[in-house]
């Protein structure tokens, strides 16, 4: 093909051809995501304004805000607050246990560090359902903990089906989400900064408080959000370890779709939870992801 000197129009055309190529390469996936993700998401949004017939069918007319108004129902608020408090408690416990833990790993020698890290990852990568189920063996009325207590002459202890069991399950399930960002933040810390602080007359604790902790803050933020978000929407953990009395958000949404057959209200609930999570996720991407 004979070529001509380039003009701005020709350059534009070449650029456009390149862009089109990129778009086409991504098209199968983006098309798939639009069809099986974006449209379903939009559909749930539309459903949240629909009404429900007396037989439990969703009627796509008489658009209204009833489902959103129902979010303010004291019963719903109570479930929401309970989920929120539980998620927050999970986050705080994870943070308190993980910070010294991550600090410990990050300050070991390279070889030991890798082993310790992989040891955190192994349970983390194994089946979530199975890991949660494992606590049933420990926490039930004839569970291992109860047996140990009785062996020492104590009472039978049943933690299973209480909020405490759910809390344990959540902490167990999401602890690694906290450990990893914290580890990453502490591990990349420039230790000469701590030495500089010591050189400038700070004692160990002050150096930690004024240098190490602030510098590892991105890890704290990232880890906290990574634990908080899934805890708030947890469904499997409370379903396996919680009792009927501790209904949480995830459970409640599911029941609207599978049991109560109130899809518009379930849709509105989903959007409310998603809204809180997206705000948290935005914090994550702004504060944490940049440094991870």
């Amino acid at each position: 093909m004979t070529q001509a000197p380039v003009t701005p129009e020709l350059e534009k055309a070449a650029e456009r051809a390149e862009s089109r190529r990129g778009f086409l390469i991504g098209l199968p996936a983006s098309g798939y995501l639009v069809l099986f993700f974006a449209i379903p998401l939009a559909l749930v949004f539309v459903y949240s304004f629909a009404s429900r017939s007396s037989t439990g069918l969703t009627v796509l007319e008489d658009w209204n805000l009833d489902s959103y108004r129902r979010l303010l129902d004291p019963l719903v608020v109570e479930i929401f607050v309970r989920s929120f408090v539980l998620a927050l408690t999970t986050t705080v416990i994870c943070l308190l246990a993980s910070y010294p833990f991550a600090y410990y790993i990050a300050t070991r020698g390279a070889a030991l560090r890798n082993v310790l890290l992989i040891l955190v990852m192994i349970p983390f990568w194994s089946n979530f359902l199975v890991r949660t189920y494992a606590w049933r063996v420990l926490l039930g009325t004839d569970g291992v903990i109860s047996q140990i207590s009785q062996a020492f002459g104590g009472d039978s202890i049943r933690v299973l089906f209480t909020p405490l069991a759910v809390l344990i399950g959540l902490v167990y399930g999401y602890l690694p989400f906290m450990v990893l960002p914290l580890y990453a933040a502490i591990e990349r810390l420039d230790w000469s900064l701590v030495e500089a602080a010591r050189d400038l007359y700070a004692d160990g604790w002050t150096a930690f408080r004024r240098v190490t902790l602030p510098l590892s803050m991105p890890g704290v933020v990232a880890g906290s959000i990574l634990v908080f978000i899934p805890s708030l929407g947890a469904y499997v953990t409370p379903a396996i370890l919680g009792g009927a009395r501790t209904v949480l958000m995830g459970d409640y949404i599911v029941s609207q779709f599978l049991a109560a057959r109130n899809w518009p209200f379930g849709s509105a609930l989903s959007f409310a939870v998603m809204f809180v999570m997206l705000i948290a996720a935005m914090f994550y991407f702004r504060a944490g992801a940049k440094t991870l």
Partner: protein, 291 residues
């Protein structure tokens, strides 16, 4: 570190104690589960004597075996499709600029951030609506089944594959592709001879992640599965909610071993130690483990 047993020594000892406590917390339930899966008793947590009884029962149980087959089929198909689509998406997002790329980037991240329950609800409503429209337009009646599970799994797997592969693409020097072009390789030759071999560990890692995710998923699958199309985790979840039997212990241990083998394989595929650690700790990958 020469202060020996001063305050530093005490702090170090406290840190060690905390670390041991955390590891015990992480491993005790798993270890106990494995031990009790070899227990002969009908009660899940009262030890009598070691036996392989429940593993035998598991292999004779048609429902477990059927669910296992479904799980494998779903996971393999969903992984194959989402690996191809996700890799193409990663290349498109990482290597090209075009209008709508930013939106697509956000859209591709959403399935990772969005809670399972919401994803499940969305797809339930979608399939219900889509089948309804199809019925009224063409009279064809479709119902949920393995195909809807596969479609749903691909929907969330694409994003995870794309994230892992993108991390890999971002690591490698653009100049390598330019060098190939400079050395007379066409675009396709450049992809096949240079790009693909170099991102292969990322693609493999993404595929194994997709496979684990697919094998693990409970919530989404439960919502989009039809009658008779249960996967193993959904079957186990159903059993657990009705009450526990030692059979579940045995099934659980098998699932546990399966996921560990997958992790080991995917770690083996990452050539460098840094790559391994990156793969393990990639935050978005981490994020996904919230099923």
């Amino acid at each position: 570190m020469s202060e020996g047993a001063g305050p530093r020594g005490i702090v170090d000892r406290l840190l060690s104690a905390n670390a041991i406590a955390v590891y015990v917390f992480l491993y005790a339930p798993i270890v106990l589960l494995v031990i009790f899966s070899f227990n002969d008793n009908n009660n899940v947590s009262i030890w009598t004597e070691p036996s392989l009884r429940w593993y035998g029962e598991m292999f004779r149980n048609d429902q477990v075996m059927g669910a296992l087959q479904n799980s494998l089929l779903v996971a393999l198909v969903a992984t194959a499709v989402s690996t191809v689509l996700g890799t193409a998406l990663a290349i498109s997002l990482e290597r090209y600029r075009y209008r709508g790329r930013g939106t697509l980037d956000g859209l591709a991240y959403l399935p990772i951030i969005i809670p399972d329950v919401t994803m499940a609800v969305m797809l339930l409503v979608f399939f219900f609506q889509a089948f309804g429209i199809l019925d009224s337009l063409t009279g064809i009646r479709l119902t949920a089944g393995l195909h809807t599970i596969i479609l749903a799994h691909i929907a969330f797997n694409i994003s995870f594959v794309a994230v892992v592969v993108r991390a890999r693409i971002a690591q490698f020097d653009d100049a390598l592709e330019e060098a190939a072009a400079d050395l007379y390789a066409t675009r396709w030759q450049t992809f096949r001879k240079v790009t693909l071999p170099l991102i292969a560990p990322g693609v493999a890692g993404g595929a194994l992640l997709a496979l684990t995710l697919s094998l693990d998923d409970v919530v989404v699958t439960q919502f989009v599965s039809g009658a008779g199309s249960t996967t193993l985790p959904v079957y186990v979840f159903g059993l657990v909610r009705r009450g526990v039997t030692p059979l579940i212990n045995a099934v659980s241990v098998v699932m546990l071993v399966a996921s560990m083998v997958l992790v080991a394989v995917s770690l083996g595929l990452q050539r460098s130690a840094a790559g391994r650690q990156k793969m393990l700790t990639e935050p978005s990958v981490v994020y996904e483990r919230t099923t």
